[in-house]
């Protein structure tokens, strides 16, 4: 029996897709189960942004086929410029829904590190993927978009770092969106086992070819005991793309998760970034920069929730809004009962470059435990005329003075990105967007 849904993909299509990929049974059932729920579950309700009219669910094609890149040389300049070609031995490039390039150093393979596209990993390492895929960090039935994601996941990467393995060099992924018919349900799963350490940096980039499209991204980071994960990302999707992006981590005892996120999409975007500090002495740090322009509407909710004793959470967000762009910055520091000696700090700053731009910074502290420390700071303002006066009094033009102030405002996050090429990309994107 086939039930009729309001979604563009039905049960049969999902079954067929799963079968074509040769997926294990648990994944097929998970997809079908999620699809059945997706229809009834409500959309998420990001605080202060109404998204009921946004299109997250209607698209022409679930998947497209794209050509692969046979070598680094084969890639367009826009991708090559992101990669430290001389040294980068651990790289996954995905083109729309197609795994297009993969390399992992022999040394890491010997140590048991797994890095590959997610759907292949589900076949080759079914137990590992099944254990962590939408079980701990993000649940399938949270709302319509998580359920739809689980049902239709059609790309992404799996990174597993075994116990006691510390990886010095960053692992890099590039997701290219260059086919306007491509719909991305991209899932990244990073599992860092006990006492391991890894840095993962991803870039989403779109070409001018992409008009209207839907992107739904879920990233899960599982940091086990005493593990350390640094997760860098630069999102640079097109103006016509409506994006839901959910990056979430769970931190075990003595572990650390650090996010450095450059949110540079040109289209409407809902971003959730949640770090769950479950273990005692765990540590979460989120640094995020945003540039909004045109008419785009965005909502960035950043949440660090503390269960562990002595856990520390830090949120730093800086946003620049120009034209008629509008963004909501919700920062939530939540300390559960029992998380004694926890510390939750957050800071949100928004710089407005035009009369029509809008930015709201909402710091929220939710604390159910007495023996804690917490703090927040938030501001929304314009470029300080006294700063411009000071810079101009040294002969610097107004345009250059504004540029210096804006770059300076975003620098605390940009300098944090661990791959030079990605850092450069973010600087260039910022340059282009704010000029």
């Amino acid at each position: 029996m086939t039930t009729k849904t309001n979604l563009p993909v039905d049960q049969q299509a999902v079954e067929a897709f799963s079968q074509k990929n040769g997926e294990p049974g648990w994944l097929s059932s998970l997809r079908l189960d999620a699809l059945a729920k997706a229809d009834d579950l409500p959309l998420p309700k990001p605080d202060k942004t109404k998204i009921t009219k946004w299109n997250f669910t209607q698209f022409a094609k679930h998947t497209v086929d794209s050509d692969i890149y046979s070598s680094l040389e084969d890639m367009p300049e826009s991708i090559k410029s992101l990669i430290d070609v001389e040294t980068q031995q651990n790289l996954y490039v995905q083109r729309n829904n197609t795994p297009a390039f993969l390399t992992l150093s022999e040394e890491l393979k010997e140590q048991g590190v797994i890095f590959m596209d997610l759907l292949t990993a589900a076949k080759e390492y079914p137990e590992l993927v099944e254990k962590y895929f939408m079980t701990e960090a993000v649940k399938v039935d949270e709302h319509k978009l998580t359920a739809l994601h689980a049902a239709l996941v059609n790309g992404g990467a799996f990174l597993y770092v075994p116990k006691n393995v510390e990886i010095a060099e960053p692992i890099q992924a590039v997701y290219v969106h260059d086919d306007t018919d491509a719909t991305l349900f991209n899932h990244v799963l990073v599992v860092a086992d006990d006492n391991s350490s890894v840095t993962y940096v991803e870039s989403y980039l779109a070409t001018d070819a992409v008009q209207e499209s839907v992107v739904n991204i879920v990233s899960e980071v599982i940091a086990k005991q005493n593990a350390r994960v640094v997760y860098g990302a630069v999102d640079n999707l097109s103006a016509g793309t409506t994006t839901y992006v959910n990056r979430r981590g769970t931190a075990g005892r003595d572990s650390r998760i650090e996010w450095a996120l450059g949110m540079m999409n040109d289209g409407n975007t809902i971003s959730e970034n949640i770090t769950k500090l479950i273990g005692d002495n765990s540590y979460g740090d989120t640094k995020m920069v945003v540039v909004g322009r045109g008419n785009q509407k965005q909502n960035f909710t950043t949440n660090i929730t503390h269960w562990g004793k002595n856990s520390e959470g830090y949120i730093l967000k800086h946003g620049v809004m120009k034209d008629a762009a509008s963004s909501i910055f919700n920062g939530i520091g939540k300390i559960e009962y029992g998380a004694t000696k926890a510390n939750a700090e957050q800071e949100s700053r928004v710089l407005m470059l035009s009369e029509k731009a809008r930015g709201d910074a909402n710091p929220i502290l939710l604390i159910d435990e007495d023996d804690v420390t917490a703090g927040h700071a938030a501001s929304v303002g314009r470029v300080d005329p006294m700063q411009l006066y000071y810079l101009m009094s040294r002969g610097i033009s107004q345009h250059e003075a504004e540029r210096l102030v804006i770059h300076g405002f975003l620098a605390p996050v940009v300098t944090k990105l661990p791959i030079e090429g990605v850092k450069r990309l973010l600087s260039e994107v910022i340059e282009r967007k704010v000029q």
Binding site: D384, R394, G395, E400, L404, V405, L410
Partner: protein, 260 residues
């Protein structure tokens, strides 16, 4: 080449209130002028108005740099024309390093393609920072952010030494400095002293003049320059204070807004 900065009948308002009521002053390169006077007499307003501070409105008068009226120029154009103001309260700018800022300022004076080389810039910066006894890491710190009062003043002098303006206006460069910092700042100003550099120092403390000997001394009261002289005027102010000038001119309250 000798330069001149001529201030003619300058009237300045802030938020509708007239602060300067007709200032006249002529500066030549090679000379150091000092404007003294008690607080609230309009000294800092004069410095800010010359540079183009956005809050001050010039209602009358001219400021001519080598014959050109700088009041018709944007702030950056005034700087490029040869003016420099060491500010009393320099802005702090997050994320912009002192070194990057200084390089931008120097390159703003050069044609595209003729930018100062990194090596040359660093050499010059190191040399001047050594001279001003500044910690080398201050080059990589964000501009004025978290600088102590003394560090900010040294940093203003550092900028002046790097930029090499025709005229430097120093607005209370000595306030809040301990004696060692005051000596260093004075050393910087004396180092700049040359035929190609003119200087206007605004202060209400005589002690700076123990280290810098000015060519001319002016006293400001009620938004005007009320007395001018040589170094001997400063010496007399040091021993006798301002009361004799007020008596001489029949001024009861020297601050702006109080008419004689």
């Amino acid at each position: 080449m000798a330069s001149t900065l001529v201030i003619k009948d300058l009237h300045v308002e802030i938020e509708g209130k007239e602060i300067l009521k007709g200032v006249n002053l002529e500066l030549d390169s090679g000379k150091i002028h000092v404007i003294m006077g008690p607080n609230g007499t309009g000294k800092s307003t004069l410095a800010s108005a010359i540079m183009g501070h956005p809050k001050f409105e010039v209602t009358k008068g001219e400021v001519l740099l080598n014959g050109e009226n700088v009041l018709e120029m944007e702030v950056d154009e005034r700087a490029l024309a040869g003016l420099f103001l060491a500010m009393q309260y320099p802005s702090e700018i997050t994320g912009v390093t002192n070194a990057d800022f200084l390089r931008s300022a120097i390159n703003a004076r050069r044609e595209e393609g003729q930018e100062i080389s990194l090596m040359k810039f660093i050499k010059e910066l190191d040399k001047n920072m050594d001279f001003l006894e500044m910690d080398q890491n201050m080059a990589q710190r964000y501009l004025n952010e978290g600088f102590s009062g003394g560090e900010k003043k040294r940093n203003e002098i550092l900028q002046m030494m790097m930029i090499k303006p025709e005229f430097g206006i120093l607005d209370e460069i000595d306030s809040g400095l301990d004696i060692d910092a005051l000596k260093v700042v004075s050393k910087g100003i004396n180092q700049m002293r040359s035929e190609d550099f003119g200087c206007l120092i605004i202060t209400h403390y005589q002690r700076l003049l123990n280290y810098i000997e000015p060519d001319f001394v002016h006293v400001m009261m009620q938004g005007r320059i009320v007395k001018s002289g040589g170094f001997e005027l400063a010496r007399r102010l040091e021993t006798e204070g301002y009361d004799w000038i007020k008596q001489e001119l029949g001024i009861e309250d020297e601050t702006v807004g109080q008419e004689a």
